[in-house]
């Protein structure tokens, strides 16, 4: 069974294009310089509509994490146990990301690491997080 895939829209297409190019691009407000995620047509801090798709550091740390011991979607059944972390990028934005190259039991809140990319389909390449052990 296929994994859940996002719907790519004109609004979020640059994010997914960035991922295909192995680059994590996020919108940055042209008025107040705030980063924002998920992609949105307006800045939630200052209501400005101007934004530039901007490369991020692609580094950050684990803000919190969970370990799936049971699959909640059949497409993930073969991967259990797997960890998903809420990763705080050095830009301050948080994203939920799959943890790779790290046994779930050894993961810790505060662990630093970097964004990597996993190709799912021609359109969708997912950012994932590799903690530095």
């Amino acid at each position: 069974m296929a994994k859940p895939l996002p719907i790519i829209t004109p609004e979020n297409a640059p994010f997914w294009e960035g991922c295909r190019n192995r680059q994590l691009l996020l919108q940055r407000c042209t008025a107040c310089a705030a980063w924002r995620y998920p992609p949105a047509p307006v800045c939630p801090r200052c209501a400005s509509t101007g934004a530039t798709w901007t490369p991020t550091s692609q580094t950050g740390q684990v803000y919190s994490f969970v370990i799936y011991r049971r699959a909640f979607h059949p497409a993930y059944a073969a991967e259990v146990p797997y960890a998903v972390a809420l990763v705080e990028l050095d830009e301050g934005v948080r994203l939920p990301l799959r943890i790779v190259d790290c046994p779930p039991e050894t993961l810790k809140i505060g662990a630093r690491g970097e964004i990597r990319f996993t190709r799912l389909t021609d359109e969708v390449t997912l950012p994932v997080f590799a903690p530095r052990l």
């Binding site: 996002p6 803000y63 919190s64 049971r70 809420l86």
Partner: protein, 385 residues
């Protein structure tokens, strides 16, 4: 509603058969609860002129409230669908008070139900699928299913404040003790802390008893003016205060994931009611997960931030403890009813009709609702008249 304190009352409550109700439909469960609520109040359908309901998740239905009203033979002057998940009952009370205050109707039926368990076992073709909002920015990233978002919050709380598995377990155990005293509850098998610690992981740090049930349920209650309430069958229960909070939509947007909206909705409700926290005799707190209860105990101020784990130890939230919480067993052990049975249980407590679960001299109760992952929070204060 700032001036509405005590002017409006809950005058009737109804609960459908709960747990696994064979052959049930969402509309059928809703109707069963609604009929019981009207019967409890001593009202007939022509006396009801307002209605609020929540369309079922599994079968999102256009004009569900009107379908319910037509089924019951109500002629509404006011009515619409209201869907805020487990916040729906508390938001509906506030909505009812505003409508009554504005004179748009005088007697409001609030009723909803779902055949969640039956539906999950016998999937029926649906004509539309609810868009939950998690499809694009959570599920493709592996964050699938209800427990994970709350589990992220619980894990962060454990990291920041040293909250332990045993403390989450104490919450599960207290809820089960209450459900055992509740004849209609879905889970009445005794649960010890050892049983809890031996239970299978679901999404770590949550084990199976940390997670609420999947249930068939219906719940209903009737709100009217204190004037009309005086002539009805039951002792009315007064609506004293109300507050709501909308801190974020997604967990990734939470400023500090170890807090919930009770920090804002709580003070708003207490200020409106003109009462203090220490006057609360019991609390029916939205309990999608054990952690959801713990964070609210802190954020309402029953204990210091970070001290929720210590607070729930030693039976403090069980019947007979300093603050009985979820005296019916809650979503964790009675049935997952999106919070509507938190309202009906609070009414039973304040009428003195809670049987073996009765809190002695219950005069003021706190009811809360939650929706999304700690996204929407609402607080309701009810008082015996």
């Amino acid at each position: 509603m700032a001036t509405a304190r005590g002017k409006y009352c809950i005058v009737g409550i109804g609960e459908s058969d709960l747990g696994q109700v064979p052959q049930s439909t969402s509309l059928g469960l809703t109707v069963q609860a609604a009929v019981r609520a009207l019967e409890d109040a001593g009202l007939t359908p022509p006396q009801v002129d307002g209605c609020l309901s929540k369309p079922p998740y599994q079968e999102p239905t256009f004009l569900f409230t009107d379908q319910l009203a037509a089924t019951l033979g109500l002629r509404l002057r006011y009515g619409h669908d209201l869907h805020a998940g487990g916040c729906t009952p508390v938001l509906a009370v506030a909505n009812a008070v505003r409508a009554l205050e504005a004179g748009l109707c005088h007697t409001m039926l609030i009723a909803f139900g779902e055949n969640m368990l039956t539906h999950s076992k016998t999937p029926r073709p649906t004509h539309g699928k609810l868009h939950w909002g998690y499809e694009d920015w959570e599920e493709p990233f592996g964050l699938v299913g209800p427990p994970a978002g709350y589990a992220l919050a619980a894990k962060r709380h454990m990291h920041c404040y040293g909250t332990t598995a045993e403390q989450l377990g104490a919450i599960a155990v207290a809820h089960r003790q209450h459900a055992i005293l509740n004849e209609g509850a879905q889970m009445r098998k005794p649960l010890t802390l050892d049983d809890y610690l031996r239970s299978p992981w679901i999404v770590e740090p949550f084990r199976l008893p940390d997670c609420s049930l999947v249930s068939d349920y219906g719940g209903a209650f009737v709100v009217t003016t204190a004037e009309r309430a005086a002539n009805l069958r039951q002792q009315p229960v007064a609506i004293l205060g109300y507050g709501e909070s909308h801190p974020h939509r997604y967990v990734l947007q939470a400023e500090d994931l170890t807090y919930c909206g009770a920090v804002e909705s709580g003070p708003a409700a207490f200020q409106m009611a003109g009462i203090a926290l220490h006057e609360i005799d019991f609390a029916e707190l939205y309990d999608s997960f054990t952690y959801t209860v713990l964070v609210q105990l802190e954020d309402y101020g029953f204990c210091a931030k970070g001290a929720g784990g210590t607070f729930v130890e030693d039976g403090r939230i069980a019947l007979g403890g300093a603050l009985p919480v979820n005296t019916h067993g809650g979503l964790l052990s009675q049935a997952h009813a999106d919070g509507i049975l938190h309202v009906t249980e609070a009414v039973k407590q304040l009428r003195g009709q809670a049987g073996l679960r009765q809190v002695a001299n219950a005069r003021i109760g706190l009811v809360s609702g939650g929706a999304g992952v700690l996204a929407v929070h609402a607080s309701l204060l009810l008082g015996a008249v």
